[in-house]
C-alpha cells in the first residue's frame, strides 16, 4: 500500500496518509472546485488500506479549519470507512483539532462523534491561527 501525500493549496488541504505508519492527517482548508474529484482517490486508497489492515492502532489527525458543504459530504464518507473498520478489525483514534473560539468546528465534531461511535474521538484545542496563516 503506497502512502498518499498531497501538498496544501489555497483551496485544498495537505493530505498525509501514511498508511505505512498508520497515521493519517488532513491539514488546512477544503473547498476545491470539485470535491468528489479531490476526495475520491483518497477514499479509494483508504478503503484498500483498511481492507488489508488488521489489529492496527490507526491515528487520524483532523486539522481542517474550513471545509465547504461538498467537502463535508466527502469527509463523512471517510469517517464512515474508518468507523466500519473500527467496528470490526482495527482501533481508530480521531484527534479532532479545533480552535477554542470556533464553535462551528467543535459542533461539527460532536456530530461526527454521535454518528460514528466506534471512533475514539479526542478533541484537541489548538491555536489554529498558526495553521490557518
Amino acid at each position: 500500500m503506497n502512502d498518499i501525500y498531497i501538498a496544501r493549496t489555497l483551496e485544498s488541504p495537505e493530505v498525509d496518509f501514511r498508511f505505512s505508519g498508520n497515521v493519517l492527517s488532513l491539514v488546512g482548508e477544503a473547498y476545491p472546485e470539485n470535491a468528489a474529484h479531490f476526495f475520491q482517490p483518497l477514499l479509494t486508497g483508504l478503503a484498500a488500506y483498511l481492507k488489508s489492515a488488521d489489529g492496527r492502532d490507526i491515528e487520524f489527525n483532523f486539522q481542517l479549519t474550513y471545509f465547504n458543504s461538498a467537502s463535508t459530504k466527502m469527509l463523512y464518507s471517510i469517517f464512515e470507512l474508518l468507523n466500519d473498520s473500527a467496528c470490526t478489525k482495527n482501533r481508530v483514534r480521531l484527534n479532532w483539532f479545533y480552535d477554542e473560539e470556533d464553535d462551528t468546528i467543535l459542533d461539527f465534531g460532536h456530530g461526527v462523534q454521535d454518528d460514528f461511535s466506534a471512533l475514539d474521538f479526542r478533541p484537541v484545542t489548538v491555536d489554529l491561527g498558526q495553521i490557518a496563516a
Binding site: E11, E33, S69, Y76
Partner: protein
C-alpha cells in the same frame, strides 16, 4: 462612466456599508483569490474570528453555487458571471451574491428557500444533519434544501433573503437570482 459618476458610485457603496465588491467572471481561481482578499479585508476591519469564518463560509457556498449552477452569460465567451458584495450595517455583516439562473429552475429555487426562511436555527441544524446523512446528492432533484443552502442558513443570524428577477431582453429563459445572508 465619468469620474464624477465613479465617485458617486464609490460614495454610494460606502453609504451602504460595502467593504468588498466584485462583479465579473467566476472561476475557481477567481474564487480562491477573492476569498483570500476577503479574509484580509475582514481582518483589517477587526471582524471577530467566528463572524469572519461564517462570512467566508457563506461566501464560498454562494459563489461556488453560482459557478456550478448558473448558465453561461448570453453574449459572452462561455463565461459564468457573478456579483458579490460584503458589507456591514447596524453592527452586523452581510453578504449578497447575484448570478443568472435558468428561469425554468426559478420555482425549484423558491421551493428550496422558502422553507428555510421560516425555520428556527435548531430546525436548520437538524435539517443540515439529516441532509448530511442522506445519500441524496444535493445537486440533483432532491426535495429538501441542499447542504450548501442549509450551510448559508445555519451561518446566518436572520432568515436569508432572496429575489428572482427576469433578465431584460431574455425574459422567457433567464432570471437574476440574488441571495442575501446577514451573519
Amino acid at each position: 462612466m465619468q469620474l464624477e459618476g465613479f465617485n458617486a458610485f464609490c460614495n454610494n457603496a460606502d453609504q451602504n456599508g460595502i467593504i468588498f465588491y466584485y462583479n465579473g467572471s467566476l472561476s475557481q481561481n477567481v474564487i480562491g483569490t477573492m476569498g483570500d482578499a476577503l479574509k484580509q479585508r475582514l481582518e483589517s476591519q477587526d471582524a471577530k474570528g467566528p463572524i469572519s469564518r461564517k462570512l467566508f463560509s457563506s461566501f464560498v457556498e454562494m459563489v461556488q453555487n453560482a459557478l456550478h449552477y448558473s448558465p453561461e452569460a448570453p453574449d459572452s465567451k462561455g463565461e459564468k458571471l457573478g456579483t458579490v458584495a460584503v458589507g456591514k450595517r447596524d453592527g452586523k455583516y452581510f453578504i449578497m451574491c447575484g448570478n443568472l439562473v435558468r428561469k425554468q429552475y426559478a420555482d425549484r429555487i423558491r421551493a428550496r428557500l422558502e422553507p428555510l426562511r421560516s425555520m428556527s436555527l435548531d430546525e436548520i441544524k437538524q435539517a443540515y444533519r439529516a441532509q448530511l446523512k442522506s445519500d441524496n446528492n444535493d445537486d440533483g432533484i432532491s426535495k429538501g434544501a441542499g447542504l450548501g443552502l442549509l450551510t448559508v442558513a445555519r451561518d446566518a443570524s436572520e432568515p436569508i433573503e432572496y429575489s428572482l428577477i427576469d433578465m431584460p431582453g431574455h425574459e422567457t429563459e433567464l432570471s437574476f437570482f440574488n441571495l442575501k445572508a446577514i451573519i
